[in-house]
Symmetry: C2
């Protein structure tokens, strides 16, 4: 297997594990992770970037594997006392996790860009793969709900437990991609969409100005976040019918990406997409590091076959 230059687009836990799988089979220098910042928000006065942190913690081997967010060996002393002070307690931030938000917030206030501070923090944690936030400026994902008007992403996702029915997803701003995104795409020989939510994790990246045009000149493969009609994590399986009127399926995700897509990786049994795109059925559930590395190997081999 040759080592192509790969850019991978990622949301939170599923994407993060896929990036770690790729990092196990590719040199870090061949890989760039471009990460969703649409669900970034301010909490307790701190700038929180959940997907960036999940990718960073996962690559550094510090993530809490079972929970899917935050750090392993975490305590929640600050959260408990903040609740006593009457602060919002619906978004759980652990004590060690606080350090990341404090350091990032301080860096941003001192004039660093989000991509600069991200690079500094991931290096401090020993994550080898470059992590580029999709944009330095805010690009808030907004959820138009049936019952509760427009909600910020975390308000809808965490505070309301994604209960309000989604009518549409839109973005509150349209900033350019962060420095490094278009540069990495220009050099990429392969772009991979991790198994993340297309509407709220990858669309924010894909819709940054210039990204679509950059994707036209490079093979794009996506890994389905839907397995047998179910999402491994998160509200996607409910969002697909709410947003498209169709049942949740790998096929619905593939059609969402269709104009960009050169190949689609699905769980075995999900290969009937109903339209014409090369499909790789394989084991896509990344239950551990070995499974993620095996998936990464499968996806890279599929890309090689398609390139022939």
């Amino acid at each position: 297997m040759s080592t192509p230059r790969v850019v991978v687009f990622s949301g939170g836990v599923g994407g993060a594990r896929f990036v770690r799988g790729l990092a196990a089979v590719l040199p870090a220098s061949a890989l760039t992770a471009v990460v969703n910042t649409g669900d970034d928000f301010e909490h307790w006065g701190l700038y929180v970037s959940p997907d960036v942190d999940t990718v960073m913690y996962t690559l550094a081997g510090l993530a809490h594997e079972a929970r899917g967010w935050g750090l392993a060996d975490e305590s929640f002393g600050a959260l408990a006392l903040l609740e006593r002070y009457g602060e919002a307690a619906w978004f759980s931030i652990g004590d060690r996790d606080l350090a990341t938000h404090l350091a990032r917030t301080r860096g941003l206030k001192a004039g660093e860009t989000l991509s600069q501070v991200t690079d500094r923090l991931r290096r401090a944690l020993g994550a080898q793969v470059p992590i580029v936030p999709m944009a330095d400026a805010p690009c808030p994902t907004l959820i138009e709900t049936e019952s509760d008007g427009v909600l910020g992403f975390q308000e809808w996702f965490v505070h309301r437990r994604s209960a309000p029915t989604v009518r549409a997803v839109r973005f509150g701003a349209d900033p350019p991609p962060a420095p490094g995104v278009l540069e990495a795409l220009a050099q990429a020989e392969l772009v991979l969409f991790g198994p993340s939510n297309p509407y709220v994790s990858l669309d924010p990246i894909v819709t940054r100005p210039g990204v679509r045009a950059a994707l036209d000149r490079v093979p794009v493969l996506a890994v389905s976040p839907i397995l047998g009609g179910q999402a491994v994590k998160g509200p996607l399986a409910r969002m697909i019918p709410e947003l498209t009127g169709e049942p949740a399926s790998a096929s619905a995700v593939a059609r969402h990406y269709a104009p960009l897509l050169d190949g689609f990786v699905v769980e075995r049994g999900d290969e009937a997409l109903g339209f014409d795109v090369p499909v790789l059925p394989t084991a896509t559930l990344m239950s551990d590091r070995a499974a993620a590395a095996a998936l990464a190997r499968d996806v890279l081999r599929f890309a090689e076959e398609l390139a022939r």
Copy 2:
């Protein structure tokens, strides 16, 4: 014993324990603690008010008794990770303690004054005695050193472990006292100076505009922070010779306060002050709550005798 309206001036741990002693023998409604904010500073982007917090935690029964700062049952996960991120780690902030600084910083940014946010936080922690910061606006204590120029208080005290010889103490601003300070003094029948450092803990309070004049019309008693030539805690025993050329003694502290002083409370054996002020020799070491309450009772009885 009658219950006079008492205002107590306090720095950190010694003052805080004295306030707790008073709170054990007086109704909370008869007591107001005015607390030094000269060593407040910004750390990790948060507004930290060490003496206010020590008084608040001590009154709420949450203070770490042996350490003299911060909370009992504390963890330091954030500190460790912040150090890994290259942030300054010389000032230890625990994880639960962080909650206080986060809530205060958020309140201040939302437009609350320091006295408003202090009142809200101490109520949330269940501290009954009103705690009034000496000023709402910054009044930074500056340490003029022999070897290292002018240092901020925490820079000198914590970062440099109060090693550089002190030539003078001054304040970087001259804000009015916070709302409530002059009002409490106007209603007070007795003002007590806790056993705090006169130069860096109580002078900042005493020198707020209007405070000296208010003290002229009410009996003022002070408790010596020097016992047998030694300070219970902190750099005072070294500062006295550095600032006055005289050995550390209760007498040096009394003379510092002299024009304001109607009586002075010292450890038994320290009663020879060398000038004419009523003295109460008693047990002043507040090794536990009972000792602090006994000292408070002694001081109030002394005030009653002086008033006869």
